[in-house]
Symmetry: C2
Subunit: 345 residues, 2 copies
């Protein structure tokens, strides 16, 4: 595949780049009025996720309207548990909610692995194909999935939580159930990511949103072990691992078989670089709240971050998904600042 702009792939692989590539987590959806228009024409978020033409449309919008260096397929990490047999709803102002949860062996019947991914998640794969047609080689398309630990959290807790104490309880009361479920999620996730690659994803990111709620030992046993299986399996395209809040485990993550490591906004880039050397690309990590500042201040804060880079191995992003009420003009200032920055390496 020949791209007009493949900066992000080169940066991920540690190859030469003319400037740092930039994209934003949650760039598809949330902030653009053009996205809200599409969303308003449908019954809700889930219908949008499940309608390939429209999902593709909002995937491409930030490429056209913001000038990012990559698209990311518009979808949700919870399509995986749903495909396995655990349906979810998205409740306004509350977030995801599962009617059933998996807290016993008996409930494992809602965590199937024996189904045809290409069929059951065809809407995502179809959206990838349509989006690539529309992008037409301008930039690469990123596919993604939740990390097994994060998907486990939702399947066991049944909803968002500050502590995920129901999920974490299982690690103490029934670790073999936890491992069984994590293994199943991992198997399906690997198949799903490979299907995304077959459909046209040029890069993969795995999101471990709830990495930060486990201590180092438990995260190694119930989180990284399964993230590592994914890292071993995904060899076809560059892979980014983003374990939010896993500060204690960063030294382990940077040794995993991936190209890039996502950093949340609380992670020190300079310290992480000294930990990782030149072995990995770092992705991130401007505080999403920085985009509430004035244009001049956004420019200053973005340049500060860029000045802290001591390597060409960086992909610029926020340290978390862009917040819904951020002015798209502010996002453009962020992107423009990155594009104007003269790379030193």
């Amino acid at each position: 595949m020949i791209f007009q702009n493949d900066l992000i792939l080169r940066a991920a692989r540690g190859e030469d780049i003319e400037r740092y590539p930039v994209w934003l987590m949650r760039q598809a959806g949330r902030i653009l009025p053009e996205y809200r228009k599409v969303r308003a024409s449908l019954s809700g978020f889930k219908e949008l996720v499940e309608t390939p033409e429209r999902a593709a449309e909002v995937t491409v919008q930030p490429v056209d309207l913001l000038g990012v260096d990559a698209a990311i397929i518009f979808s949700d990490i919870l399509v995986v548990p749903e495909a396995m047999g655990l349906e979810y709803q998205l409740i306004e102002k509350k977030g995801p909610w599962f009617e059933k949860t998996i807290r016993t062996e008996e409930a494992l019947k809602y965590a199937n692995t024996d189904f045809d991914i290409e069929d059951r998640l065809s809407y995502v794969l179809e959206a990838i194909k349509i989006a690539n047609k529309e992008i037409n080689g301008r930039v690469p398309l990123i596919g993604f999935a939740g990390a097994p630990w994060t998907i486990f959290c939702y399947m066991t807790e049944g909803q968002g939580s500050k502590t995920f104490s129901e999920s974490r309880k299982i690690l103490y009361t029934n670790p073999s159930l936890a491992h069984e479920l994590l293994n199943r999620i991992t198997d399906v996730t690997i198949k799903y990511l490979k299907a995304q690659i077959n459909a046209g994803a040029h890069m993969i990111q795995v999101f471990d949103s709830w990495a930060g709620i486990l201590g180092e030992e438990q995260y190694a046993e119930f989180g990284l072990k399964y993230m590592d299986k994914i890292a071993q399996a995904i060899t076809e395209v560059p892979l980014t691992l983003f374990a939010k809040g896993a500060h204690n485990s960063l030294s382990k993550i940077v040794k995993m078989d991936c190209n890039a490591v996502g950093l949340d906004w609380n992670t020190d880039i300079v310290k992480t670089r000294s930990l990782v050397g030149e072995n990995k690309t770092l992705q991130g990590n401007l505080d999403p709240c920085a985009l509430y500042s004035t244009h001049a201040e956004i420019e200053r804060l973005t340049n500060n971050m860029l000045n802290s880079f001591e390597s060409k191995r960086h992909i610029v992003n926020l340290g978390h998904g862009v917040y819904p009420d951020v002015d798209p003009e502010k996002v453009k200032t962020f992107i423009k600042t990155v594009k104007n920055y003269e790379i030193k390496y």
Copy 2:
């Protein structure tokens, strides 16, 4: 004041101890059936907080029923913003909710400092006096307050949040408003803590529940700066600072003018000890979810933690508040294991 058991005060000051002292955050309230009975006899959590006789009663319950080495006054960190002029409600299954928020200079009228703490928060001070009468010198009584940053979060966001993006927005858009509000909260908090000490609190803990959502620099400017003012001001009794999730700032916190530093369950005790030397007492940090294990497993996990201590300067606790559905018998196993442990230092 002569105590039958002043282990916790001696451990905080780094003096000799026969064994490690133990208590649990949220031990007053939540888990005991005897607490639920008191709570059910009143209209709700707030009435309990505001009724000194009953607040004192549930404060003393864990001393009688669990055998902890300290009592902590039953109250809420949100009594401070309420005293300043910002009323809150506690909504079942949702948490605190403020009708008004402070996001403009004009709204600072809901953040008064010019009032008589001893009068407006008399119910807390009265509860401290009654609790001490009932405890009658068996163990010390801990007073507490939220750290300015955490109180700021609630006063500006108006409710709990995963990201506190409204609170953090202000740090970028109106830092002088942030500092003004933080200064006001700090002034009131210092007066409030001194009033608690005058009323009979033998030790103070400051909780910074939302420390972990700021990057290191912002937490230094908007969090630690004000925590430090409190640490400088509270000289009468031992002081514990607990900044949950502030892993990047631990090296700064252990240098502050306090006796003890609380560690959440994700913080490595051995690494923290090597950072702090013998200058501070460490408090914590068993994962609250460990108390869902079997009795034998709780014993094993607690002994593991105790074996990791390389100093006498420890106060045993969980790494977060005890969860509501934990069996009190499991809590007793945790406490008994600590009491039976032979200290090496």
